[in-house]
Amino acid sequence: MIQDSHIPCTHCGLPCDDTSHTLEGVPFCCAGCLTAFRILKGAGMDEYYRLNTAPGIAPQPNSRGAYYTDLDDEAVACRVCDFNDGRYAEVTFRIPQIHCSSCIWLLENLHRMLPGIRSSRADFFKKTVSIGFERDKIALSKIALLLDSLGYAPWPKERAEDDLRRKKNLLLRLGVAGFCFGNVMLLSLPEYLAAGTSSLDAFRPFFSFLNLLLSLPVLLFSASDFFISAGRAFRAKAINIDVPLAIGLASLFVRSLFDIAVSAQAGYLDSFTGLVFFLLIGRAFKEKTFDTLNFERDYESYFPIAVTRISTGGERLVPLAEIRTGDHLRLRNNEIIPADCVLQSANARIDYSFVTGEPEPQYKSAGDPLYAGGRQIGESIEVIASKPVSQSRLTRLWNNADFKRVKRVRFDVISNKVGRAFTWGTLVIAGLSGLYWSFVGTREALGVVTSVLLVACPCAMALGFPFVFGTAMRQLGRHGVFLKNMNVLETAARIDALVFDKTGTITHSGAAKTTFIPAPGCPGLNASESALIRAVTSHSVHPLSLAITASLPESSAPAFDTFRETPGQGITATVNGHAIKIGGAARVAATDSDDAARVRIDLDGRQRGTFVIAQEFRHGLAGVIRELGKTATVQLLSGDAPRQKDEIASRFFSDRQDTLHFNQTPDMKMAFVSRLRDSNRFVGMVGDGLNDAGALRESDLGIAVVDDINAFSPASDVIFSGTSFEKLPAFFAAARASVNTLRATILLSLFYNAIGLGFAVSGRLSPLVSALLMPASSISVMLFASLVTRLRLKKLGFPLSVAERREFPRQTPVPETAVAA
């Protein structure tokens, strides 16, 4: 007999906890999935489920409603749409949930579900969908809402038009280089095979001429990037990795030109074109990896794009940039406060978790100042902006001089170090061998010098770097670890001091350990009472209500008679004839010392008991901190009051209370990190959101731990999904392993260079040797780099092949009612 918990949801595949959500016998895990299924079935879109098993994504409760309704505002629509002539418009949304062919099918068949949509085209790789629709037939917000209810919440498209041009350019260069390389190789074959026979003499000049002709586009077009970059470095009196490459390429070409024109020999043009071809392949690989993991996001994607402004003419949506001091604004439930303001309404409940880390909302009354970054919970409120958006405290923190400045890179990246050593080494060897051979003859000396210059190839850097780090980035990405760019791994390998934020980072934001303490003399809650309470709390977005809802067993929702949620005074409701009062903190006397939140429940007029809600620490936290402590010092910074200080110290930090710091404001956190850096430590900061933005930027490596992968902070260098938190120590080990693999790749390349230089210095470097050596070293370096990295990361727990269908962690966390730490 199969237990209920093993039945997978037909829509999203997650296990169903019970059978409360079924439609004609088909099981679902939640109301969201059921609704999505019903919508699709009603529109005749069954193909969605035929293409893949359980292809859906459990839709999030509509927490972005404000964003969607804002889309109907004309100014916002103009900004968001690619094309808009008043009647027909095209909009491109970014849909990170796209992960399989069913998603593509669904997104390209939207016209079957909404009559006003003319066409839609999805891009699997970029995770976007471009929708053309008729504005008089359908509103943009309706499209967005439909997408949201199906689990494909749309986000504004990121501005990345230059990317496409760059990719095209690279592809063109690669194509030209490949074409010329292939033909030059063919034309050079007779030279090697017919060496010595006279039948070749008639054709040699012809083939050489053709080779030169074919090498020109490679020199002038395909390889131009390397020369330009080397030239720039030269002018800045520095040496980067492109300098030795440019020297080598130039030597190859010039020497070949000389050999062909003057000595009627074949030249090294096949090595030349081949080298350019392989280098461009390395570049293309880097770009491809980068595409999947690019995440440059504006903070504007987080703040609502538009806010309702109240004026004499009525209420209007205005874009953020238009808000001035003195504007009357209306903020609805869950909307984020865009600017510092003063509260006009009688009461407000503001959640400042993104600013201070405090998960419990603060109750404000008329006249109180409210700060940007907070969120209004409950009824809509009226406020007067006291500062325009650009000066609000949060953006001030962000625009702080310490952030705008590019992170001080305090160590030279390996590639630059190697580039320098390589260039000098080559020049020295060339000089010495030239000197030696000058005693024999100038012609030989020149030959040897150019041979040395052209055979010395820093392919390890040029190829090893993108392949090692690119492969590592991909594998880490499959397991919920997303890096900003490849240099991050090098930095991560050097971290010797870690600083953790508390709220949302080491604790779950959202999950909580909730226990019910019955009033004296009363028994525990029975099933019907639980159902009643749950029915009430499930309609509130208060974090404590969410915690209570999650802790009570799911059941069919009884009917409501009345419901009123009063900010500051809890919820009053009547369900099935029973009066329920769910009280706020104001009605509960705090008696215990561990200041957990307490919510009093009154049923039918008498007190029934109290819910005690503690914050839950992430699974495996103790192990993570212990592992990390082996290679770095670990400290905790928290914006909270020192609650649970002793518990945290003893459970996770080996009782070392000096590593815990509480009551830290965002500025204090930044200063703390700064001090650590000044004492010559490499600091990694692990935080979760906007309140850490300053410290994340200030640190050498900023890691943001997020449970909803769409809500991250742009100040971080690494995004860690909450479900992969236990892999944090493995991440650092992987970074170190990657750097070691890179070093090994350098050694491999040195081996090839030694062989090549041996031939060159002894004056025996023929085009044949060079033609064999170049591709051999390039290909073996590429293979070595990617295979070794793959194996090492697999051993550390990041195998490349994971159940392909999930590139993201689950968005709806599976409720853990038992705590296992």
């Binding site: 593509i104 079957r112 790789f125 592809l171 030209v176 074409f179 034309l187 053709l210």
Partner: protein, 61 residues
Amino acid sequence: MSVLFLLIAASLFCAAGFLGAFLWAVRNGQYDDAATPALRILMDDGVAAAQNESGNHSDSP
């Protein structure tokens, strides 16, 4: 053997034609999205079958 001159010239000319085609294809945006068309192949032309009520059934591939 001197025909080789002509042959090589001719084949290079032909090959250059293909290179030109490649360059045109890239510029035309045909390589912009390499992943999605692979998924579209697997989808049936359900639209035509569902909306066409006059009984013109599309053959399933």
